[in-house]
């Protein structure tokens, strides 16, 4: 099993401990609350994610060939989704990042509804941005 696969399994295991949607949502929101805030200048238009009804900022960096994902949002649930993306993508090689199927992962942790294009939470835009960054670095 690769590092990526075991990381995803660990994430799925954490959510499997939750009995119902209420606990899963609470856990997601807690993940968001644990995010470190961005630097003051990073809350800029260039980092804003479009297609989201709340405000979302995403900062993508490359550190020694590894993708670094950081972000924030003014809404709790979306902030949790940012944390989930950070958990999923940050520290990966571009190749690993591109191999992730976010829809499958969200399905496995019972949050698939968030990645439907009808949801205006910007998660689809976030994923698109991260994948474009990985593509450029690959």
């Amino acid at each position: 099993m690769t590092q990526l696969e075991s990381d995803i399994d660990a994430l799925v295991d954490e959510f499997d401990l939750m009995d119902d949607w209420e606990q899963r949502y609470r856990y997601l929101i807690e993940m968001g609350q644990a995010l470190a805030p961005l630097g003051e200048t990073e809350y800029c238009d260039a980092n804003k994610v479009k297609g989201c009804v709340s405000q979302v900022w995403l900062v993508l960096d490359d550190q020694d060939g590894r993708l670094i994902v950081r972000g924030d949002s003014d809404a709790h649930i979306v902030k949790g989704l940012v944390a989930l993306m950070e958990r999923l993508y940050s520290g990966r090689s571009p190749q690993d990042a591109l191999s992730i199927d976010p829809k499958a992962v969200l399905g496995r942790i019972g949050l698939a509804e968030h990645l439907s294009p009808q949801r205006s939470n910007g998660l689809a835009s976030m994923v698109q941005r991260i994948r474009a960054e990985a593509q450029a670095a690959a």
Partner: protein
């Protein structure tokens, strides 16, 4: 309404609910609590059947037809226009233009009035307008140098009448105001607003999108020159709206869009337009939807609207009292003259989080700026949660809403 049907006295929301098939469904495993009717209302069987009947039984393109179906469809279509006219107290059916919606109706007026405006001419709007009554006027600002003046909104959510009156100048050419705010629920004093405009010799339009649903409309009593509203919030179909234009306004205005249906004669050298209202109805209209709106109005007016209004206000009171129990909730719009639309913010909780979580409990509310950026700015917020009441809502709905809000809050605070 035909002459024989008299409204039934009293109103039973539980019986009314039975006529709305969608309200029987579940959402996320919970019974649907629909409190988003200000965005779009659900449809009663009478409307669903009326639309289906057109398609099943007497559908053809309207006007100038020489065959039976075309004549039947035209008669039903024009009958709906007459019903719509009576509903708002228009003197003649010719004062009613059938549009795609309220947005289309307002664009029509802005565009046609706009042709007569010059750089420096002024138009008065209020801070509580929906974008549909802002952007068409911004077009005139961008294209012709028309100046938009803004009537301010008081803290409790009313148009400041004194400040409104002070906006008039010799360059004021038009006033366009919302009758009932889609965010605050405030019912503006239309008659007074129109009197002030007319005292300055300026015509006035009301955006009656919400007020047509929640209050009795008599355009003569309002004294307005134009009144716009939409069908889909009035328990009718999407894709149909109404522009009322008083007296000979329609004859004085240039047409909006060009095409079939709106002409008397077309040659290589010129056009002779059809008479109003057809001059403003280019292209094939939304035939079944117009007839459906007629059916919605007949269905609504066959009921005791005074009792419906009282029912909606009692739910509003229940909701406001319930929200008052939350120390961290602030309701925007607390004016005396208010209908069943409640917008609020909760400290440290984003409106979108609340709406998303409430949806998990089966409660449908709207969160966002509600197409009213200037109003959001006025109150210093970026988004609110909005719960809106329709005739099919019940006290149980309001209680479920309050319960869901309490639960949603527990996730966030």
């Amino acid at each position: 309404m035909n002459a024989l049907s008299k409204p039934q006295a009293g109103f039973d929301p539980y019986a009314a609910r039975e006529q709305f098939p969608i309200l029987k469904r579940d959402v996320n495993g919970k019974p649907l609590i629909y409190l988003d009717s200000a965005a779009s209302a659900q449809k009663p069987e009478a409307v669903i059947e009326a639309v289906a009947d057109v398609w099943r039984g007497s559908y053809a393109n309207v006007h100038r037809g020489l065959h039976t179906l075309a004549n039947e469809a035209t008669a039903a279509f024009e009958n709906a226009r007459a019903t719509i006219g009576r509903f708002i107290g228009a003197e003649r059916s010719e004062e009613i233009v059938l549009t795609k919606g309220a947005t289309d109706a307002i664009n029509l007026v802005a565009s046609s009035i706009g042709q007569t405006l010059e750089e420096g001419d002024e138009v008065i709007l209020s801070q509580m307008e929906h974008h549909s009554n802002i952007v068409p006027w911004h077009f005139l600002r961008e294209r012709k140098g028309v100046v938009i003046k803004w009537a301010p909104v008081t803290e409790d959510g009313r148009i400041d009448l004194e400040a409104y009156e002070a906006l008039f100048s010799v360059r004021t050419r038009f006033v366009s105001l919302v009758h009932m705010s889609n965010v605050l629920g405030t019912l503006n004093p239309a008659t007074r607003l129109a009197e002030i405009a007319h005292a300055h010799g300026v015509p006035i339009m009301f955006d009656g999108t919400q007020s047509a649903v929640h209050s009795h409309i008599d355009v003569a009593e309002l004294g307005c020159d134009f009144f716009a509203f939409t069908g889909h919030k009035l328990y009718g179909p999407n894709g149909v709206g109404v522009l009322y234009a008083a007296g000979d306004w329609l004859n004085r205005l240039a047409p909006y869009q060009g095409g079939g249906e709106m002409i008397a004669e077309v040659s290589e050298d010129g056009v002779v337009y059809a008479d109003a209202p057809h001059k403003f109805e280019a292209g094939t209209p939304a035939i079944a939807e117009v007839i459906g709106l007629g059916a919605a109005i007949e269905w609504l007016t066959a009921q005791d609207r005074v009792a419906i209004h009282a029912h909606e206000l009692s739910l509003l009171d229940r909701m406001m009292a319930g929200l008052d129990e939350f120390d961290d909730v602030r309701v925007l719009g607390t004016a005396q003259e208010k209908g069943g639309i409640v917008s609020f913010v909760m400290e440290n909780a984003h409106a979108h989080d609340l709406a998303q979580l409430m949806d998990k409990y089966g409660v449908a509310v709207r969160a966002g700026h509600h197409c009213a950026h200037p109003l959001m700015k006025r109150y210093g917020v970026t988004a609110t949660v909005r719960a809106s009441i329709a005739l099919y809502n019940t006290a149980e709905d309001v209680d479920a809403f309050l319960e869901a809000l309490k639960k949603a809050r527990s996730f966030l605070i």
